[in-house]
């Protein structure tokens, strides 16, 4: 297990190095140089020159890459061109909204999807299965912003249980923070839960057809005992894969939901940075997201091994 983890860790570091190089090069090979790109075509030559010096574009590429990487390692992501503030602080502020939101949504979607998927698989072909499958079909088909709008209508405007948007901040307490993230988290979670429940169901159905499930029944386990003791854990691998992918998506892909609920999250930051051609912010956020995806994959790999002993011994 330790050996497996170390190997995964090695590959994590390697992936990060490659990713940083790719991001750096993509921005390098973009037509023109970053400075003139950021300032647009009508910029004065001396403004461009000034920005070039500010961005450090006058030093050789290799050196610039190394400085960029080492600065990032020290937590220095540079200064935003449009906002004139430290990118690290900007990202950190946004992360305090996006990360909890993503986790919240993920927990909700898992809490909905697992019971639904297991229930449907256990009652394959019966009314309960049909109902769950119908609901997930709807969940996959309906876009999350529609859920968001409906929920604002019902819970914020009619029932007044939640506010329609905005984020109160964590300094008001954990409960207040979570409360203001609840509607966005549910809107994000519903479509994800629908997908996850379907994956859980089909994966479990595959497992239920396996020989060892019959062996379990022959030992005297009831259908339900066999399902829980031998089925669920074996069905986890595809489910974990999807959870990993969903988390990466939730972290930055929630831009529409952030817009609907007026949340200061990462998605909106990237969107604003792209529209104002703030390459420094874009570059940093992209790097951060890549980092998050790779770390999530690393965690998923470790949980794979925790679930399936065959992966532990395969070096």
């Amino acid at each position: 297990m330790l050996r497996y983890s170390l190997k995964r860790l090695m590959s994590l570091i390697l992936s990060l190095a490659v990713a940083s190089l790719v991001i750096f090069l993509v921005i390098e090979v973009a037509p023109g140089d970053p400075a003139s790109f950021m300032l647009g075509i009508n910029a004065q030559p001396d403004t461009v020159a000034a920005l070039r010096t500010e961005l450090g574009l006058d030093v050789p590429k290799t050196q610039r890459y190394l400085t960029w990487v080492s600065n990032m390692l020290n937590g220095d992501f540079g200064t935003s061109y449009t906002y004139r503030t430290s990118v690290a602080t900007m990202i950190a502020d946004r992360m305090w909204v996006s990360l909890p939101l993503a986790l919240y949504a993920l927990v909700l979607s898992t809490l909905i999807a697992f019971p639904a998927g297991i229930y449907a698989a256990a009652r394959r072909g019966k009314a309960g299965d049909m109902a769950v499958m119908g609901a997930t079909q709807l969940g996959v088909a309906v876009p999350n912003f529609w859920f968001a709008m409906m929920m604002v209508l019902v819970f914020a405007i009619n029932l007044r249980w939640f506010s329609a948007g905005g984020f109160v901040g964590w300094d008001k307490g954990l409960w207040a923070g979570l409360h203001s993230l609840t509607l966005p988290a549910i809107s994000l979670a519903l479509p994800q839960a629908a997908i996850l429940a379907r994956v859980m169901r089909s994966s479990l159905l595959d497992i239920l057809g396996e020989d060892f499930m019959r062996t379990a029944r022959a030992k005297g386990l009831s259908r339900r005992q066999a399902l829980w003791r031998h089925g669920v854990r074996n069905a986890m691998i595809p489910v974990l894969t999807i959870i990993g992918l969903q988390f990466s998506f939730l972290l930055a892909g929630s831009i529409i939901i952030e817009q609907v609920f007026y949340l200061p999250g990462l998605g909106r930051l990237v969107f604003q940075a792209i529209s104002s051609r703030d390459l420094i912010v874009v570059e940093s956020v992209v790097m951060l997201l890549v980092f998050a995806v790779i770390v999530v994959n690393f965690i998923v790999d470790l949980t794979y091994a925790a679930v399936d002993p065959r992966l532990r011994s395969r070096t």
Partner: protein, 536 residues
Amino acid sequence: MNLLTITDLNLSIHKSDILRDVSLTVGQGEIVAVTGESGSGKSMTALAVMQLLPDLSTSSGSIQLDGTELTAVSEADMCALRGSAVGMVFQEPMTALNPVKTIGDQVAETILIHKAMPPARAKERAREVLERVGLSADKFPLSRFPHELSGGQRQRVVIAMAIALRPKLLIADEPTTALDVTTQAQILDLLKGLVKEENMGLLMITHDLAVVSDMADRIVVMRRGEIVETGATKHLLAHMQHPYTKMLFAASGHLVNLPTPPEPTPLLKVQNAVRDYQLPRTSLFAKPGHYRAVNDVSFTLHRGERLGLVGESGCGKSTLTRAILGLEPLQGGQIHLDGAPVFSGHSPNLDVRRKMQVVFQDPFGSFNPRHRVDRLITEPFFLLDTPPKGIARKDAIAQALTAVGLHPDDAYKYIHEFSGGQRQRIAIARALIIRPELILFDEAVSALDVSVRAQILDLLAELCTAYDLTYLFISHDLSVVRTVTDRVMVMQAGEIVEQGVTESVFTNPQHPYTKSLIAAAPRLPDLTPTSKEPVQ
């Protein structure tokens, strides 16, 4: 009193009848073997006793286990009986165990689910029973996972789970069909020993008549859901009445007459062939290790000769086959067909490849279900520079299908319309259609029922006469190899340990491995009156 009494059991699934009026008994300490071909209902009989029948099945009749009417007990009560009063062992040990739980947990689960012992004692009992099935504590601690064990060892674990609570009845459904002969012999011995020691009843389901004759006290022969004959083994073997029983035994020991091979002129030459597989790196910077699947193999196959290749799973038979077909490169040595190398550069040598065809084991998996038979069997035409078109193509198809005993009109059907035996005929037609110089039969009759197998073997013998076939017949089934080959090679751990004229290798094996293989293979009892052909 009998331990298990099945009376007039009828079973239907989706309105099709699976079992009709099945009645049989198993006594304490008795081994009853239910035999028959696929679709005879033998496995369903076993599952009916366990009350683990597929959904949507309806049954009538009575199944009494030690005085309890199993068809009347509730599902909850049945759960209490399964594993404690009756244990079951299945066919496929590779998939019968949960891959994510240790063998100790899985054996102990049988005990814990019935709350028969406290957890600590259950662990001890698990250890004890694993010991009993031959998995010693030092080599096989309870913390082992199934993937760390071989097929035979896994089957021992499955048996341990089934007998952990000393059930009165053990049901074994084809327990050794997926195992090699030497492993099979050990597992059969183990089962026999258990029956004797624990005074269990054993209901054994198997299609292998040699195993049946060797193991059973009584035999039950089934066909299409009905029992056609039953009796004490010795008596039944000596006085079998039903024509189906006679046919089964005759087909199991079926012998064919091959035409005499022509004067030896070399066709396929394998010289010092070596095939290494790269193992995964143990660490990022270490050199990857190698696994030598085929080690310094040399042999010559002459034109018109029928050569056998036998060995147990993992011995390198299939790797050698792939190398001969030019599907994989060699790491040493050469393979020439008719003087030309089978593998050139990075791909099979097409000039040579069109002279070879192969017939695989699985008659169900080796055809594309979306193509019609005419397209399936003309696939080898892609190897030709000028494949026949129009009438010539039609003629070739008709000829190939007729040669294998099918009708030319079968060309327009899809593969699902054919039975396993017919599919194997189509596979042979596919191999024959470009008139190859050499055909490789890779376990080509292993998946077939005995009666169908006998027909396919007859077909091979006919084709040998009609087409002067040269073939390499790869199989783990010694009795089949014995009858359809002139010469045989025995392979062990990547090496050919013995080769020679088939009959003399079988009657007078030299290498200890060959001797152990032949000794382990279960033999049909000598039934002189039923043998159609005189022994060669």
